[in-house]
């Protein structure tokens, strides 16, 4: 019974949220949800679509042609050339795109390499697809960058893909072009797919240049599957809409799975996505500016707790992943798993009513860390740190 699901676990982030909800005055810096509402231009596009009566029927399985056209244009602006008719699928958030991709490209028993710490749900989706996640630790000493030799060592005849998040959740790292080109060489040498989840690519703070993607390189377009979600960039987590793109030879196979899973992404959300691409450029710039302010605020507040935490300053996304350097806490009789980061997160929740995510949830290298989200308002961030300062005195 339940062979497929017995090794799956509910996301630790959601577990923390659930636990936190029992505390009446909790401040949650756990879930990666933007504090902003969806931009008004997007909402207006949805209202218009509703009024025009165009949202009640299925769209084509890969999504509305108008939306995929817009996506093609947007990708071309970023030096990525993909045919909207055959090479782009609008998905129900990026997690559905990831699931469809893995189901399409893998066979049961394949191994998928994931640099970690990284997004918690990758492990579960890989297991759900009958594959084995193989963790390769990132190097915290080198600002959470990855070391190619470690990847090469992890490759076996069963390895099917390297699956990474760039910018990375929870570390906020942007992998350099050189590092990514190194990965591409490895993929070519060992005949692997590269799955690039780029949901935070719009949050680059004050950095001028755009984030490089391997999907820009035409020679490897038959290996790279790139995913994007509207959730973070446009404050649309509830709409569940994203997209993926790759060479038509791969997309044709992913489309079959996507059709089985969801038929098509929710049409009303597809109209919202059109609104995002047509009208929300300014909002993304605004969000980016706000996250930069919040990043600096969180770092300034962490600097005041140097005896408790050390951290690598994030370059992107809205997370910081501090290491807990003080170890001699009296956690008392906590009902928590053995892991130190779990015990620390549970203790912090009880003591300060501040919810964070235990670092071990993001992979073995995440142990001894916590993830703090600065998707919340400056007011909430300040209140949470005021409470932490009080208990760490």
């Amino acid at each position: 019974m339940f062979e497929r699901t017995k090794d799956l676990r509910l996301s630790v982030i959601k577990q923390m949220e659930l636990r936190a909800s029992k505390f009446p005055d909790v401040i949650s810096l756990a879930q990666g949800v933007p504090s902003f509402d969806t931009p008004s231009g997007i909402k207006r596009r949805v209202e218009l679509a509703l009024r025009n009566g165009v949202v009640s029927k299925y769209s084509l399985s890969p999504g509305l042609s108008e939306l995929r056209e817009l996506i093609e244009v947007k990708l071309a602006e970023d030096n990525m050339f993909y045919d909207f008719e055959k090479e782009i699928i609008v998905t129900a958030g990026s997690i559905e795109g990831i699931t469809a991709t893995l189901l399409a490209i893998t066979n049961s028993g394949d191994e998928i390499i994931i640099p970690e710490p990284t997004y918690t749900s990758y492990r579960e989706v890989i297991i759900l697809c009958g594959c084995t996640p193989v963790f390769v630790g990132l190097n915290e000493e080198k600002d959470w960058s990855f070391e190619l030799e470690k990847f090469e060592k992890a490759i076996t005849p069963k390895t099917k893909a390297i699956f990474y998040c760039n910018p990375n959740n929870p570390t906020g790292t942007i992998y350099s072009k050189e590092q990514l080109l190194g990965l591409a060489e490895l993929a070519k040498k060992h005949n692997l797919f590269l799955i690039s989840d780029e949901v935070y690519k719009d949050f680059t703070f004050a950095r001028k240049e755009k984030i490089f993607s391997l999907a820009e390189i035409p020679e490897i377009r038959k290996r790279v599957i790139r995913l994007f979600s509207f959730s973070k960039s446009y404050a649309m987590t509830g709409y569940r809409v994203g997209y993926l793109h790759s060479d038509e030879s791969i997309v044709a196979e992913i489309l079959k799975v996507h059709d089985c899973l969801v038929t098509c992404a929710p049409v009303i959300s597809q109209y919202a996505a059109m609104g995002a691409l047509e009208m929300a450029e300014k909002d993304v710039i605004f969000f980016n500016g706000e996250y930069l302010k919040r990043r600096d605020l969180v770092c300034a507040r962490l600097d005041k707790l140097k005896h408790i935490f050390s951290y690598v300053k994030p370059e992107s996304a809205y997370y910081v992943f501090p290491k807990i350097i003080k170890k001699d806490f009296d956690f008392g009789s906590l009902d928590a798993p053995e892991s130190f980061s779990f015990r620390f997160a549970f203790w912090l929740l009880e003591k300060a009513q501040v919810a964070v995510v235990p670092g071990v949830a993001f992979g073995p290298s995440g142990e001894d860390h916590i993830r703090i989200s600065f998707g919340r308002t400056e007011h909430d961030i300040n209140r949470a740190f005021d409470r932490m300062e009080k208990i760490f005195k």
């Binding site: 231009g41 909402k43 042609s65 093609e72 045919d83 055959k86 090479e87 020679e219 009208m279």
Partner: protein, 231 residues
């Protein structure tokens, strides 16, 4: 206000219309004109309907649904009359999503050259049938200037092809169909870094390469080559 601005500056208007592929053709035409050293303004993204078009012509951003944002826009519109360096060419996508949209848009602009890409089921819900949708494009064909103007049509789409009979302007065709006199796409070949296509016109075959993928991009490129030939 838009009409006054157009009457003062008298730009050449190129209209791009059809159910799909407008944006790719618009970008191609803009690129061609810019390469020829012309000054061009094209409507951005979705600025192709009754409110978007005047804003695009006046080069003013939309306030979307914010009344506060619209006030300075209305103010800016007055000053648009005195815009310096008004472009020589306006390349405008004309979108129709409701009956009568084209009539409204063409009460603002009168295109010298119109390019119509496709007429298909997209947006047909609001028109109670393809024949009514066809009437919108027929109106554009009829309103395209006959004096030195031109209507550039996709021969492969039967409805678009039929528009040649509804205009007084010069007509040029493009497409894959083997028909005499048209700009004919003979072959498309996908390569690692893009796609190659071969274009036949007046018994001459030329080879082209583009870094983008998909047949629609070849059609957009060929529409651009017809446009180049016309101007």
């Amino acid at each position: 206000m838009t009409k006054i601005v157009l009457a003062i500056h008298r730009p050449t208007i190129v209209a791009i219309s059809g159910s799909s592929n407008k944006t790719f053709i618009r970008d191609e035409i803009r690129k061609i004109l810019e390469e020829k050293g012309k000054t061009v303004r094209a409507n951005p993204k979705n600025f192709n309907t009754e409110i978007g078009l005047p804003l695009a012509i006046l080069n003013i951003k939309s306030g979307y649904n914010s009344y506060r944002a619209w006030l300075p826009i209305i103010f800016q519109a007055f000053f648009a009359i005195f815009q310096k360096n008004f472009p020589e060419y306006l390349v405008l996508e004309l979108g129709v999503s409701q009956k009568g949209d084209m009539k409204h848009l063409l009460s603002i602009v009168r295109p010298k050259i119109s390019i119509i890409s496709e007429i298909n089921q997209r947006y047909v819900e609001s028109f109670s049938g393809m024949d009514n949708l066809f009437l919108e494009y027929q109106y554009l064909a009829r309103c395209t200037r006959k004096d030195s103007g031109a209507l550039i049509l996709n021969y492969d789409n039967a409805r678009v092809r039929k528009l040649s009979k509804k205009t007084h302007a010069r007509v040029e065709f493009f497409g894959k169909t083997n028909a005499s006199g048209i700009f004919q796409i003979k072959r498309i070949e996908k390569e690692e870094k893009g796609q190659k296509f071969w274009l036949k016109h007046n018994n001459k075959i030329q080879e082209f390469f583009m870094p983008s993928f998909g047949e629609h991009n070849v059609y957009a490129s060929v529409a651009g080559k017809v446009f180049e030939n016309v101007i």
